[in-house]
């Protein structure tokens, strides 16, 4: 009986012109988004590889120079983007694509794709994630608002119930017919994405994440189907059902997802970059001045070096004092910067937690977080890139400083120079470590849990609605 109801409902949906029109629109949107996402992916990837090569060559071409000079010449870390970013770019367009790595200072990432744009940048382009989270629910509303509401639906329902079909069978049959459409779209997206993933490296990992992402979308859309069918069952009038569902869509897809990050950002404000730099510089100066405040900084570092190497005169030092100073200062400045950037990360985490509270009002917040976590396009993924770049920077600069320190001046040749290309060769170029699913899981599961809770609540709502259905007709 259930299959008959599903078939019947599917036929009705298929015949509905506006549903067909909007479904075509969604499919076109997904096709364009996939094309655009893939083209961007290819462009970014090739640009990054080329830029890494130029950066390495530029470093090596310096030849024999002073290590500290080379540390200021610096290098760059370019962000590698996961293949699933073509489905869900997350915050990629709003975070930097590269980090400058140099001595004394930890730079944040710069150069985001939306920089130097016009008013058009205020409107985000189509993405598969956007199509599935914002527009697909709208199509579902249009397809499902009159499932049980409205005069004709009520008359049909009377006949069906009189024929002995249970309200449960009717409700789940109609809900599953809607879910069938959703499943088809998800399979289509998954199929195309899987083909693209096959061309890349580590497709197995990509497949697992794609499956998890799509499973999340499946739960999200199932939740919406349940809510839509439930509301339709609760409302006698199709107009009231449609208005209520459109209002829910507006609040859940547009207002709450936009308000949540804004409220979170205002509740836990992050200082601007110049302020952070100012604070970090102050912390660095304070840590330099700690100890004997009567001495100048130069004198203090000199005393420190003499004490460390157990000598009384600078000339007797077995190391280069300038190199020693650079190494010492780099340790302190890195500590200062890391502490201040860690505070920023703590604020981000608080903002994320507050946003999660808002997912009680909108499952879209949860699905966005879930999807971006597996696509590695969330803030946490960006933080991983920044942390890896910072670790590389510190190691690069300290290798140069240690080499400088280990070469005390000989005679009158004050300036020490070395082949920095050869010196840094063992460190290699910057690479972003591949993160396993087990590392992403702790970030993703709270959003997944919220989605499951939403789906359970929606199923419970439908059950309540269906119990009342028989009595209301």
């Amino acid at each position: 009986m259930l299959s008959t109801v599903i078939r019947h409902q599917s036929t009705l949906l298929f015949r509905e012109r506006r549903v067909a029109l909007f479904t075509c629109l969604i499919l076109a949107m997904i096709a364009v988004s996939l094309g655009n996402g893939f083209a961007r992916q290819v462009r970014w990837s090739s640009d990054r590889v080329a830029a890494e090569q130029v950066d390495a060559e530029s470093w090596n071409v310096q030849g024999v120079v002073n290590p500290h000079y080379a540390a200021h010449f610096g290098r760059h870390a370019f962000k590698a983007v996961s293949a699933l970013a073509m489905l869900d770019p997350g915050v990629l367009d709003y975070v930097g694509t590269l980090v400058r790595l140099e001595a004394h200072r930890q730079h944040p990432a710069g150069g985001s794709p939306t920089d130097a744009d016009t008013a058009l940048a205020s409107f985000t382009p189509f993405t598969v994630a956007g199509a599935l989270t914002i527009f697909a629910p709208l199509v579902l509303v249009l397809a499902g608002f009159s499932t049980f509401s409205g005069e004709s639906a009520r008359q049909l329902l009377r006949q069906e119930l009189a024929a002995g079909i249970s309200p449960d069978t009717l409700l789940w049959g109609r809900a599953l017919a809607l879910c069938g459409g959703v499943l088809l779209i998800l399979l289509l997206v998954g199929g195309v994405a899987a083909i693209i993933l096959l061309q890349g490296s580590a497709p197995a990992l990509g497949f697992q994440r794609l499956a998890l992402m799509l499973a999340g979308y499946g739960v999200y859309l199932f939740t919406l189907v349940a809510v839509i069918v439930g509301v339709s069952a609760c409302c006698r009038s199709a107009r009231v059902a449609l208005t209520s569902l459109l209002a829910l869509w507006l609040v859940g897809s547009l207002l709450v997802p936009r308000l949540a990050p804004t409220i979170a950002a205002n509740r836990y404000p992050v200082a601007s970059l110049p302020e952070l730099n100012e604070n970090a510089a102050e912390s660095f100066a304070t840590s330099l001045d700690a100890g004997n405040p009567k001495q100048t900084r130069t004198e203090r570092v000199r005393t420190l070096a003499l004490e460390k190497y157990g000598v009384k005169k600078v000339e007797d030092l077995p190391v280069n004092l300038s190199g020693f100073t650079m190494e010492y200062a780099e340790t302190l400045s890195t500590q200062a910067y890391r502490r201040h950037f860690a505070e920023v990360q703590t604020l981000y985490a608080k903002q994320r937690d507050l946003q999660r509270v808002f997912s009680i009002f909108s499952p879209m917040i949860a699905i966005k977080a879930w999807s971006a976590a597996w696509a590695e396009t969330d803030v946490a993924a960006h933080q991983r890139f920044l942390s890896a770049a910072e670790d590389y920077r510190y190691e690069l600069v300290q290798r140069l400083n240690r080499d400088y320190r280990d070469h005390p001046p000989k005679g009158n040749s004050g300036n020490y120079e070395t082949d920095v290309g050869a010196l840094i060769a063992p460190l290699g170029n910057f690479t972003l470590p591949v993160v396993g699913n087990e590392e992403l899981w702790p970030l993703a599961w709270p959003s997944g849990a919220v989605l499951v809770l939403w789906s359970l609540a929606a199923a419970a709502f439908v059950s309540v609605a269906v119990r009342q259905l028989g009595g209301r007709v």
Binding site: R18, S33, N36, W44, D47, R48, A50, A51, V54, D55, H76, F78, G90, D93, Y94, V95, G96, T97, P108, G111, P113, T114, D115, A116, D117, T118, A119, L120, S122, F123, T124, P125, F126, G130, L138, R239, L242, L246, L254, R258, L259, P261, T262, A264, N266, P269, V270, A271, S272, L273, P274, N277, E278, A281, V344, L347, Y348, Q351, Q355, H382
Partner: protein, 465 residues
């Protein structure tokens, strides 16, 4: 005219009695107040960021001046000339936050707000990126600012008031009765539309104007932003008028309230989301954003070439002790101008690509009223691309002027008598706002285009009863 006034009064009173109008006005006021407060917070943060940047530069400048004070105190005869001072400090032109920036964040975070450079080293200008460390999630979903309220929320609320202004009468059969009266139905429809939508629009515009003025008040007087306020009012009224006329058109064809609601919803979705997002996607495909890694590579290659060139110059000069310091600085300034050109050339293709992308967006902004409004509000608020580009152009011009001035001072060999005098000689960058015509010309074009949209809607969908 009398039937019009009677119908207007009746419809207005009905709207007030039903509580729809006051409820929507209250809802709108809440959204506006939150958006204005939000925008004002953002603007205050931007000001704090600029002040911190300027403090950093001033600190370095003070250190240099302290050295000069020490020289003047110990060996006044060895005090360097004023040109030397000018060449030994860093400069940091900064674009001021516009008084109405709280109206929309716009492109306020998409361009660097300061450009730090040294007269003989301008690399930092070319490597400058707009860097914000605020949570990118807020940027990704879009800011809840006044522009969002105008572009997205205002049409929604207007449609909520008028979506079934005639369709409901048609559905209930009242339309036939009204048509039987000796009054032109078009007149009745106009009166109903104005009573419901027009009064709502006026209320919304008033609330918006008051909120916009409030955001500007800490920095300027109300009279200081009167032209901007007038333009905001014009843009909001014309945008609202477009939606009211669109609602009229929908009511001409919709047979029932449900149909009218669906059509109005679809129109809202298309104008506010689908067309702009579609254009944004098409632009990404046709005019992709220049790649920052590629730009960085080009700059890096240019830097390597510069390094080589500088080594060759140093070798040609011979030992530093044999050259007069004044002459050396003069030469280095000329050379840095050549170097700057090399860096500019390295970024020329990316800049061209960016210009083309901006031109494309400027051209196709006429495709949707929502784009026109967003663009107009950004220009009025001073968070637009044109102002940011004007700033970087002025900063580059400042470098040229500064170099000429330094060269002149170096040649003159003029010295100052006190640190204060030295400090006063250091040139300061002042951002010159564009003229009224340059600033508001495009806004008026957008206004005219919005009127055009309304006129087309008015003419194409004439009432047929």
């Amino acid at each position: 005219m009398r039937p019009f006034i009677t119908a207007f009064r009746f419809e207005f009173r009905r709207g007030v009695r039903e509580g729809v109008l006051p409820a929507l006005l209250l809802l709108f006021a809440v959204a506006v107040v939150y958006a204005a407060w939000n925008g004002r917070t953002w603007r205050e943060n931007q000001k704090a960021a600029r002040e911190a940047a300027l403090r950093d530069t001033a600190k370095f400048r003070d250190e240099v001046l302290a050295r000069y004070a020490s020289i003047l105190e110990r060996t006044p005869e060895k005090a360097p000339n004023t040109g030397m001072l000018m060449v030994s400090v860093w400069y940091r032109p900064t674009i001021p936050v516009a008084p109405l920036a709280a109206v929309t964040v716009g492109q306020g975070e998409g361009y660097p707000f300061d450009l730090r450079f040294h007269p003989s080293n301008t690399r930092a200008i070319f490597a400058a990126r707009p860097i914000t460390i605020g949570n990118p999630e807020a940027r990704a979903v879009g800011r809840f600012d006044l522009a969002f309220v105008v572009v997205v929320v205002l049409p929604l609320l207007l449609l909520a008031v008028v979506f079934d202004v005639w369709a409901a009468e048609r559905e209930s059969g009242v339309a036939r009765l009204l048509q039987a009266q000796p009054v032109a139905p078009g007149l009745l429809l106009g009166a109903k539309l104005l009573a419901r939508g027009g009064s709502a629009l006026l209320g919304f515009t008033g609330i918006l104007a008051a909120a916009s003025a409030w955001t500007a008040l800490p920095d300027t007087s109300l009279t200081g932003v009167l032209p901007e306020m007038a333009l905001i009012t014009l843009i909001v009224l014309s945008y609202g008028a477009f939606w009211l006329l669109l609602a009229r058109a929908i009511n001409m064809v919709a047979a029932s309230s449900s149909q009218a609601a669906l059509a109005a919803g679809a129109a809202w979705l298309a104008v506010v989301a689908l067309i702009p997002a579609g254009l944004s996607t098409v632009r990404d495909l046709l005019q992709p954003a220049p790649s920052w890694p590629a730009q960085t590579s080009a700059l890096r290659s240019a830097e390597v070439a510069l390094e080589r060139r500088q080594k060759e110059r140093a070798a040609a000069r011979g030992p530093a002790s044999s050259i007069d310091r004044n002459a050396l600085v003069l030469k280095s300034l000329v050379e840095s101008a050549e170097d700057q050109q090399l860096l500019a050339d390295a970024q020329a293709s990316a800049r061209q690509q960016q210009d083309k992308r901006r031109q494309w967006a400027d051209t196709y902004r006429f495709a949707a009223p929502s784009l026109l409004v967003q663009d107009a509000l950004e220009r009025i608020a001073g968070t637009d691309a044109a102002r940011a580009n004007a700033f970087s152009d002025q900063a580059l011009d400042f470098i040229v002027t500064l170099r000429d001035l330094i060269q002149q001072h170096l040649r003159d060999g003029k010295k100052a008598a006190s640190v204060r005098e030295y400090a006063e000689i250091i040139p300061q960058f002042t951002f010159e706002e564009a003229t009224v015509g340059e600033r508001f010309g495009p806004v008026l074009i957008n206004f005219a285009s919005l009127c055009g949209f309304s006129a087309v809607t008015w003419l194409v969908f004439r009432p047929k009863f």
